[in-house]
Symmetry: D2
Subunit: 332 residues, 4 copies
C-alpha cells in the first residue's frame, strides 16, 4: 500500500506540529506540500521533510495533483472556504476546529460536502483520540459509574493570546467541551447558560474565568469552567458523576518530584505535550481511513456545526445576563 500524499495548509504552530507528526510518526502518510500565506514560513516547515514542496497559495495546494488529502490548520476564519474548496476537489479534509465560528458558515460547508457526495470532511476534535478521554468514554459506556447525572469539566490554560475576546473563550476553547460532552454521553447539548465570576485582574478587558452550564438531552447537567489565564499551567479535567460512582481523567504527569518541602507533579505549559499523542492517533486514524477509502472515525462536519451551534447559544446567554438558552442546530 503506497503512502497517502498529504498537503498541509497553515504553517503556524499547529500546522508545523502536524507536518512533523505526519512525517515522523504516522505510518502510511507522506507530507507532499505545505501552504501558508507567509510563503517563507511554508518553505521553512516543508524543508524538514525530504521531498515536500511549499506554496503561498492554499488553493494551489488543494488543486495540486500530487496532493491526495488536505489538512487545514490555517486561521479559524479560513476554515470554511478552504474546506469547501477541498471537497469540491473531491479530496478528503481534516480541518482543525472550529469548522467555522458561526453556524451560518458551518452550514455552507456541510452543504458543499453533501453536494460532493458526503463523507469527505473530518474535524480535529482531537480529544476523541486522547487515550485518557477514550478510556473515560469506554468506562462510562461500560456502566462503571452508572447512569451519568452530573459532569464537571475544567479547562485551564496559562494565558490567553493577545486580542482574546469573551466570545473566543467560547468558540476557541470551550468548544472542545461542546464536542466532548455529547460524545462522552451519546447525547446532544440542548440547553445552556453562561455565568461569569469576578474576572482575573491579570489580563485586561476579558471575562475570564467563565462558567457554563450545559444540559444534554439525557437530562445530565454539565459544568464547564473555562479559564484561559489560570497561570499555573495547562490543566484539563473531566469528572462524570453517575448513579453508582464517578469517573474522572487522571493527571497526565509521568514523574513525581520531592523537593523544597513539596511533593509535586508538573503541569504542561500548553496543550501540546498534553495532547501530542491524541494528535498523532487522530492523524493516524485519518490517514488509515483515507488510504482504505473508508469513512474516517473522526468528528464530522455535522459534529462541527453542532458544536458551533452550542457556542452560539452560550454567547447568546452571555449577552443576555446568563439566561438559559436552547441550542438550535440549523437543519441542513
Amino acid at each position: 500500500m503506497s503512502a497517502v500524499r498529504i498537503g498541509v495548509i497553515g504553517a503556524g504552530n499547529m500546522g508545523a506540529d502536524h507536518v512533523s507528526t505526519l512525517h515522523r510518526f504516522v505510518s502510511g502518510a507522506e507530507v507532499a506540500m505545505v501552504a501558508d500565506v507567509d510563503e517563507e514560513r511554508a518553505a521553512s516547515v516543508a524543508a524538514a521533510v525530504p521531498g515536500a514542496r511549499s506554496t503561498g497559495d492554499a488553493l494551489a495546494l488543494i488543486a495540486d495533483p500530487d496532493v491526495e488529502a488536505v489538512v487545514i490548520a490555517a486561521h479559524d476564519s479560513t476554515h470554511a472556504d478552504l474546506a469547501i474548496a477541498a471537497v469540491r476537489a473531491a479530496k478528503p479534509v481534516l480541518c482543525e476546529k472550529p469548522l467555522a465560528p458561526t453556524t451560518a458558515a458551518c452550514v455552507r460547508v456541510v452543504r458543499a460536502e453533501r453536494q460532493a457526495g458526503g463523507g469527505l470532511i473530518s474535524l480535529g476534535f482531537m480529544r476523541r483520540f486522547d487515550p485518557a478521554h477514550v478510556e473515560l468514554k469506554a468506562a462510562v459506556a461500560s456502566g462503571a459509574c452508572g447512569t451519568p447525572l452530573l459532569l464537571h469539566c475544567v479547562s485551564r490554560g496559562v494565558s490567553s493570546a493577545p486580542g482574546c475576546t469573551d466570545e473566543f473563550s467560547v468558540t476557541g476553547s470551550a468548544i472542545h467541551e461542546f464536542d466532548t460532552v455529547p460524545w462522552l454521553l451519546n447525547s446532544p447539548v440542548t440547553e445552556v447558560s453562561w455565568h461569569a465570576a469576578r474576572p482575573t485582574s491579570t489580563v485586561r478587558g476579558l471575562r475570564d474565568p467563565q462558567l457554563m452550564l450545559l444540559r444534554t438531552a439525557d437530562g445530565a447537567l454539565t459544568t464547564v469552567e473555562t479559564f484561559l489565564n489560570a497561570r499555573y499551567g495547562y490543566d484539563i479535567r473531566c469528572e462524570v458523576a453517575g448513579e453508582r460512582g464517578t469517573l474522572a481523567l487522571a493527571g497526565p504527569a509521568r514523574l513525581v518530584e520531592n523537593a523544597d518541602r513539596a511533593r509535586s507533579t508538573a503541569h504542561p505549559a500548553d496543550w501540546r505535550p498534553r495532547f501530542a499523542d491524541a494528535y498523532r492517533l487522530e492523524l493516524q486514524a485519518w490517514t488509515d481511513a483515507v488510504a482504505r477509502k473508508l469513512p474516517a472515525p473522526l468528528a464530522t462536519a455535522l459534529d462541527g456545526l453542532t458544536a458551533t451551534a452550542v457556542a452560539e447559544a452560550v454567547i447568546a446567554s452571555m449577552k443576555d445576563g446568563g439566561r438559559t438558552v436552547a441550542v438550535q442546530v440549523p437543519e441542513v
Copy 2:
C-alpha cells in the same frame, strides 16, 4: 481550673458522639447530664460517663444548677426553642446546625440571645475546625492562590435518610457550604441559583444531585454539588481557583492499598470519621472559651441566621425554575 460541667441535649448519633468526645478527649470538660425525649436512650448514653445523670426533660437539664453549659444535638425542629431557653438561663450554648430551618425562627433566637446580653450561642459548623478546612482558609488568606475567583464545592454521601426532601438537601446538607464559603472568603453570599440534574433513580421522589451557584459580595462564583445518594462514599471537596493558582482539600485517606488490579484509597461511609477531629477541636475550643468566660471562636447565632437565609434563597430558586435570587438576611 475546674472542669466545665456540660449538659448534652439529644442522645441520638450526634449527641452520643458529643458525649463520648467530651468525656474521652476534651480537656477541661465534664459531661454532667444527658437529656433525650427517649429517657432510656438518655440513660444509656449517660451510663458511659461516671457521675453523669440523665433526664427525659431538656428544660430540666437547662435549668439544672449543676449544668454550666449546654450542647444542643436534638432534632433540628427543637434547636430554636432550646437555644432560647438556654440563653434565658444565661448558659452558654453550642447548638448543632442549623440554628433553625427558617430565618423567622433564627431571628427569634438571635433576639433572645441579644436580650440575654449576647455572646452565648455558638453554632456547630464544625468544618471551621476541620484541620484541612483551616489550612485551606489560611492558605487562601496568605495569597497562595491569588485573589479567589471561582470555587468548586462537592458534597457527596452514600444515601439519604428516609423521608428526605429536596429542601432538606439544602437546609440539612448544603447549609455547610453556605457557611464554609463565606467563611473561607470573608465575604457573604449575595445571590444564588439552583439547578437540578437528572435525578438518580436509586431513590424515589428526590431531586438528587442538586447544583447550586453562589455569588459572594467579592464577586467570586461558587458551584456547589450536593449529592446525598452518590453511593460510592462520603466525599467532601473544595477547590478555590484564584488569579495565580488553586488550592483544594486533599483526600483524607491514611492508607493506600494495591489489590485486585487497582491502587486505591478508602472513602468513609459517612461524615463521622471524616469530621471526628473537627468535632473534637470544636468542642475543645468551645469548652476553653466557656471556662475562661471568653467569646467562643465558633460560628455565631448570626452566622446561623445568615446560612439559613442563603438556604431560603436557594429554595426560592428551586421553586421558581432556577431563577437567580438575591439573599435577604433579615435585620435583627
Copy 3:
C-alpha cells in the same frame, strides 16, 4: 474522677510539646510540675500552665507528693536513671524513646521495674498511636494484603542535628522502625545488615543515607532507608507487600496546591506536625490507663530493650562491613 497530676522532666522541644499537649488536649491530665537542668527553661514552660510548678531537680520532681506520674523527655543519656528513680518511687512513667542507648542500660531499667512490681514503664514509640500506622496494622492483621513478605520503610528528614553520628542515625532515628516493624508484623526482628550509599555531601563526616535490612522471625524481609539530611522534607513511608497485594501509608497532606506549573502537596519540616496527633493520643491513652490503674497500651520497657538490641546488631553490622548479624536480646 479527678485528674492525673503529671510531672514532666525535660523542657526542650519535646518536653515543652508534651506539657502543652497534656494541658490543652488531654482529658483527665493536669501538669503539676516541670523539671529541667535549665531551671529557667523549666519555669518558662511551666508558666503556661496555671498552677504548675517548676524545678531544676528531676529527682525532686519524681519525689514530689503532688506528682502522680512522670513523663521523661530529657536527654537520651538520662532516661535510664530517671526511669529507675521513678519506678522506685512507684510512679508510672512515660519515657521517650530510646529507653537507653545500650542494652546494658536497658536491662538495668527492666530489672528495676520488675523489682518494683512491674507494669510501670511505658515507652514513647508514638507511631503505635499514629492513626495511619494504626490503620496499617489493622489492615495487615485483617489479611487485606495477604501474608506479609516484604516491607519497605523510608524515614527522611530535612537535616541532622549538629554532632550527629552514624550510630545516632540508628539509635535515634531508625529505632522507630525497629519497634514499628515487629509491632506491625507481630514478629520480632532476628537478623539485620547495614549498608551505606554514597554519603550526601551536604553534611560532613556522616554516613547518610543508610540502608538496613531486617529479617523478622516470620521470614519477612524489610528494607529501612534512614536519610536524615534528605533536605526536601520530613517524609515517613511504609509499604507492606504481601501475597495478595500491598498496603502503604498515604501522605499526610491536607491541601493540594496548583501553582507555578506544578500540582503539589506539602511536606512538613520535621516530625512535629506529622506526629502531633500520635503524641496526643499516646498521652491520652497513658493518662487514661494511669487514672484507672490499668496496664498502659503503650510500648513497654521490654519493647524498649528489644529495639535497642536491634540497634546494637545494626551497629555491629555497620562496624563489620555490612555483615549479617543476629539480634541478641539479653535475658532479663
Copy 4:
C-alpha cells in the same frame, strides 16, 4: 525515502506485537516477512499485513534479499545464534532482551558483530524509550534531585510463567533494572548482593519475591524488588533519592474511579499496556536509524553483555547465601 523492509523472527506475543506495531504505527517501516518455528503461527501473523510473507525458517528470513533489517523476538535461547547470523549477513538487528542468558554467549555475539564491522545490533531494553523513564533520566541529569545516592526499584507482576525458576527472575525480569539503573545514572553496576524474603505461597518452588542490592561505580546504592507473583497487578516503580530531593516514576493510570467506598486507579495486568508506547518509540527510533544508516540510539550488544554480567553476579550471590559479589564484564 522508501520504507525499511523488516523481517520479524518469532510470532509469539512479543513478535506479533512488534509486527502489529511496525505495520500500524511506525512511519517508514514495512513488515516484509515473519518467521516462526511454528510455520502456521508465522503465516497467521503475517496475514494481517498486506504483502508480508512467512516462513518456518529463521535463517531463510535473514538471508532473504527483500529483508533489510531483522527483529529477533524468538525464544531467549535462540537470540545469540540468530543475531550472529544476521550480522554475518550485514543486516541491522533489533534483538529482544536478553542478548543471551550467559555472558559467554553474549561475548560470541559481540565478537561476531565486531568482525562484521560493528554497530549492527540493537537490544530491546525498551524502558529507555518509555516516556516516563526518559523524563526521569532527563530530570536526574538536570540536577533536579541533586547527586543520586539511593535508588529504589520495584518490579511486580501478576503471576510468573509456568516453569519459572529463581534464576529466571533475574535473567528475565530484573535484567531490565540491570540496564535501566546504569543508564539512568551513567554509571555501571560494580557489586551486587541477593536476598530473599519468605517466598509467596501462591506459587510452589520459587523464591519470589527477591530483593537485590546494586552498587554502581558512582557509589549509589540501589534496591531492586522483583516480585513476579504480586497478584495485584503489573507495577513498575523507580525512585531516585539524591542530595536535594527525589524523583520517581508516577503511576501510568489515565482514569480515577470512585466506587464502592474507594477512589482507585487501575493497574495493568501485564507489561503490554504499560510499555506499548515504549515499544512503538523504540521501533520508530530503530527504523529511522536503519533508514538513514545512522547508529541506532538503542541499547547495544555491549549493553546486553553488561546486563547479563550483572545477572550472573546476582545469581552467584543467590547461590552463595547473599554474599556481596563483584560484577565481572568479560573483555571482548
